[in-house]
Each structure stands twice: as C-alpha cells, then as structure tokens.
C-alpha cells in the first residue's frame, strides 16, 4: 500500500514537471465525513489502516458529524454511512482535529513551510494568510503525502509560481467595512481569476478572518489557491513584491454593480421563511462567534427556525464555558462543529457564507439580515 501511495505522488509529480520530492511539515485531508460518494477513497483509507500505516507529520481532517444534535439529524445522519469507519481509520493512522479551519487548532504551519493540504478554503488561507506553501491536494494525495511525509515539488511550492497575475482594483463605491461586500468580492474574484493568482489592491484593513471568508468564496467560484493583499499577506509587503517586481497580466476593477450581480447569480431565493440559517462556512473563529453572539444579545430565535453557529469543537467548548453561554442559551441559537455545506440541512436555507451559498442552494444574506430573519422571520406586506 505504501508503494502505491508513493506512486500516486510520483506519477502526478512527473506529469506536472516536479524534479524532486520534498519533505512536508503538515497535512490536512477531506473525506466529507462519509457521505456515500467517498466509498472508493474509504476503501483505500481502510487498507492503509489495516496495513498499520501512520502519518509522519501533523495531519488534521475536515468536520465530522456533531453528535450533540443526533436528534435533530436522525433523518440525515444515516446518509453518512461510512462515517464511523472513516473516523476509526483516520484516528488509527493518526489523523485528528475534524475542522475545516485546522489553523485555529494547532495545525498552523509557519511561513515558508511546505505542506500537503486539501480543503480549498484551508489551502487558500494557508498560502495567503500564513505564507506556507501547498498545492490544492485531494483525492487521496493528501493522505499519501501525510504517511510518506513527502510531496512533489511543483506548483505553489516554487517561489516563482507564487507571483501575482491579476490586479484587482476596488471601486470607491464599495463599502469595505461591510463584510457582506468582502465575501461578494471573493465570489467575483474567483469567477474572473479562475486558476490564476489575484492581487487585491485597497484592502489593507482586512482582518485575517475576513480574508478567510473572502478566500473561501474565490476558491468556490474559481480554483484560486493564493491571494496576495498588499500590506496584509506575508508575500506582499507592497504591490511590487506581490507581482515579484513584474507587471500584472491583467487589471480588473470591481464595483458595487459587480457585487450585486454575483449575489443575484449565486443566491437561491426562497419564497418562504427559512427552516435553517447557517452562519460560518468556513467555520468561525472564536472572535467571529463572539461577534455573532453579541448581535444576538436580548434576541430570541423563532421556534420554527434553527440558527446554526458553525465553528470547531475547541471554540464550541470554550464558548460554552464563557460568559457568552448565557446569550447562546437565551437566544436559542445552536453552536455546532458540523459542516453546514455537507449536512443536508432541510430547505429553505439561508446563509451569510458565500461558499455555502454557492454549494448549498441557499439564499445569501449579510449577518445582520440572517439574525433578523432568525429572530423576526420574513415580513411580508
């Protein structure tokens, strides 16, 4: 099995012009917690566990089922037929974590580290925000790299290939303090950039959390794996460095009209009040959860609506043991480690996440509106 896994890395490396294998410091894998479309990959993973293979580097995996809500999901959870076996096999080979934001746990590579990560939103965060280096791995390659401790040296592992290609300028009519505009910018950039490397000028105040949300959107509508933001991301102290002292291949301006267009294009509008509202995809950081809870203070979620606050297990526990737990309980919101995009939440569904809206046929609203709908419903005149 180990030789087959190595063959997978080498074959792909040969095709894409890698001259050598390199050591990695970290890996992250995605197996969509055992929906019935990972049967083939689960078979290979099971064989790895049977052969007693172990990961050689820190390796985390994407979210799994949240058993705190087994009652709510008693119809849905049986769809994850491979869940228990996957969990067992992943833990057997040494994988842990179970979040799409492993960098909020202890899987946080340093600038310049070579890694083998899958999960498009995590890869773009790793390359852009952390300045570590990973191609968009997946399809068992991430696990192959984890147990061999190696990956092929091509693509984004090579400095020259990390050069910015398209310069995005933001029109003055966009209010950049509005997070909803930032995630919509992400949707638009993904569409235009495709598989190229965008450089966004004029975002020097963006937080790393919002860069996470923007990047996840670009990695959904495009195959973007690295975004440079001058003054924010580590490989772009200014525009010149972002383009490695070369010229952009293309310059594109984004204005408010573009953002309205992408919202209309990707949002699925429902006539009825949503049954489910999900906040966070990628999962929220602790600061983001606290921000949501502060907005919920003194409010109560309507009885027929579930308001899901999606984050990792560590943050979930931390919030439950904090002063914010009172708001959580009184608001009726549900904090969870589940993935709102992979869990088939009954429709109509509303989300503040550009990524979840793209994949889940949900209506796309800003956070304040999501909370308003959850606590007041949709008013029809």
């Amino acid at each position: 099995m180990l030789s087959k896994l190595l063959k997978l890395i080498v074959k792909l490396g040969d095709t894409f012009g890698a001259e050598k294998l390199i050591e990695i410091s970290s890996a992250h894998t995605v197996l969509n917690f055992g929906l019935n479309f990972v049967n083939a990959s689960a078979k290979v993973l099971h064989q790895m566990a049977e052969d007693n293979l172990k990961v050689k580097v820190r390796t985390t995996a994407d979210p799994i089922i949240d058993m705190d809500y087994a009652d709510e999901f008693k119809v849905v959870y049986p769809m994850f037929i491979l869940h228990d076996q996957l969990m067992k096999d992943l833990e057997q080979i040494g994988v842990y974590g179970f979040t799409c934001t492993p960098y909020f746990l202890d899987n946080k590579p340093k600038s310049g580290d070579h890694c083998a990560w899958s999960e498009s939103s995590a890869v773009i965060y790793l390359n852009s925000v952390l300045g570590a280096r990973s191609n968009r791995e997946g399809g068992l390659v991430d696990l192959a790299c984890a147990v061999t401790g190696k990956t092929a040296y091509h693509g984004l592992h090579i400095t020259e290939n990390r050069k910015g290609q398209i310069l995005f300028k933001l029109s003055a009519d966009i209010n950049l303090t509005n997070v909803f505009n930032l995630t919509s910018i992400g949707l638009r950039i993904g569409e235009i950039a495709g598989n190229k490397i965008p450089v966004i000028d004029g975002l020097s105040d963006i937080s790393t959390d919002n860069l996470k949300n923007l990047g996840a959107a670009s990695a959904s509508t495009g195959a973007v794996a690295l975004i440079h933001v001058p003054n924010v991301t580590p490989e772009a102290k200014d525009l010149n460095e972002a383009f490695q002292y070369d010229k952009p291949e293309e310059i594109v301006e984004i204005d408010m009209k573009d953002l309205e267009e992408v919202r209309e294009k990707y949002s699925t509008e429902w006539a009825q009040t949503p049954q489910n509202i999900s906040i966070g995809c990628p999962q929220l950081s602790e600061e983001e959860v606290i921000n949501v809870l502060k907005k919920l203070k003194g409010k109560k979620t309507l009885q027929n609506i579930n308001l899901w606050i999606c984050t990792n297990n560590k943050v979930k526990e931390s919030i439950k043991n904090s002063e914010f737990n009172d708001i959580l309980i009184s608001s009726g919101a549900k904090i969870t480690s589940l993935c709102p995009t992979l869990t088939p939440l009954p429709r109509p569904l509303t989300t503040n996440s550009a990524k979840a809206c793209f994949y889940s046929h949900a209506s796309y609203r800003n956070l304040d509106e999501c909370i308003k709908i959850a606590t007041e419903g949709i008013k029809t005149d």
């Binding site: 479309f37 399809g139 495009g222 793209f358």
Partner: protein, 158 residues
C-alpha cells in the same frame, strides 16, 4: 503548442489534436463541450448521493445544468471548485456513472489525482488530456464522436 494533423481513417479524414496525457486509457464517445470552467464537485455530487443511473449536472450556475454527461467525452477549459473534486472524480470512475473521459485546455494535479488513483488502486482507466488550445476544442460540436488516447496524449475527432 499543439501539433495539428489529419489522417485517413477508412475513407474519412479525421483530425488529431495533440495534448498532454494526465492519465491513461483509450475510449471513444460523444463529445459534450462547454466554454465555462467546470466544478466537478458541484456538478456530480448530487448524482452520486442519489445513486443515480444518469449523471445530470447539478451545478445550477453552469450552462450544462441538468444535462446528462454519462458516457460522454466532457470538454471544458479548466476545472474549478473545492478540493473534493479528486475523490468525487475517483468515485464517478469507480461507479462508472460519469463521463468516459475529460479533455481540457489546462488540467491540474487535483483533477488528475482522481483518475490516477483509479488506475493505481482500482485498476480502472479514465483518460484525461490537457494542453490543447480551447480555440481548437470549442470547434468540436456536441455529439461528435471523439477518440481520446490517454496513452499517447491526443484526441482524434472522428
């Protein structure tokens, strides 16, 4: 650059487009061509979850939405979307429920990984060819019979 040549096959003149092989296998089938980049995950997951006999595209933002691509030669510029595409493609190959082959202008290791893993772990071949200019690929009309040769890295328009 692509080497374009024509050859006689029986009495008919066929056209050959040379590219790069991302995975092995030789198949023939009807082409379905889109100019829009393609998210394999968004397109195929619903058909997989439902264990469908067809492979109807579920990505409602795509011009191929609701089109059945089972057994087709799927042609698009380049793949996009989340990294699940590697094992989603692997699963469609193992279940034999998706297209027979993929041809694009610019492939990536992620998409290739699904086909290469199918060969290494399941002994199944699914040819993917890339590095053919899309200006050539888009001349191929839907339903044209195309032979994809992943062993040697070319397609032949029959």
């Amino acid at each position: 650059m692509n080497v374009l040549k024509s050859q006689r096959r029986g009495l008919k003149l066929t056209k050959i487009l040379k590219g790069r092989s991302l995975s092995k296998g030789i198949v023939e089938g009807e082409a379905i061509v889109t100019r829009q980049p393609f998210s394999i995950s968004a397109a195929f997951i619903f058909a997989l979850v439902q264990n469908s006999k067809k492979c109807k595209i579920a990505d409602r933002t795509h011009e191929l939405y609701k089109k059945d691509v089972k057994d087709k030669i799927l042609i698009f510029p380049y793949p996009i979307g989340t990294t699940t595409l590697g094992f989603v493609l692997l699963e469609t190959i193992v279940r034999k429920m998706g297209p027979k082959a993929i041809v694009c202008e610019e492939g990536d290791p992620l998409m290739s990984s699904g086909a290469v893993a199918a060969e290494i772990f399941f002994d199944l071949k699914f040819p993917i060819i890339d590095q053919i200019d899309f200006s050539e690929l888009e001349k191929i009309k839907n339903n044209t019979i195309v032979k994809v040769n992943g062993d040697e890295g070319y397609i032949e328009i029959l």
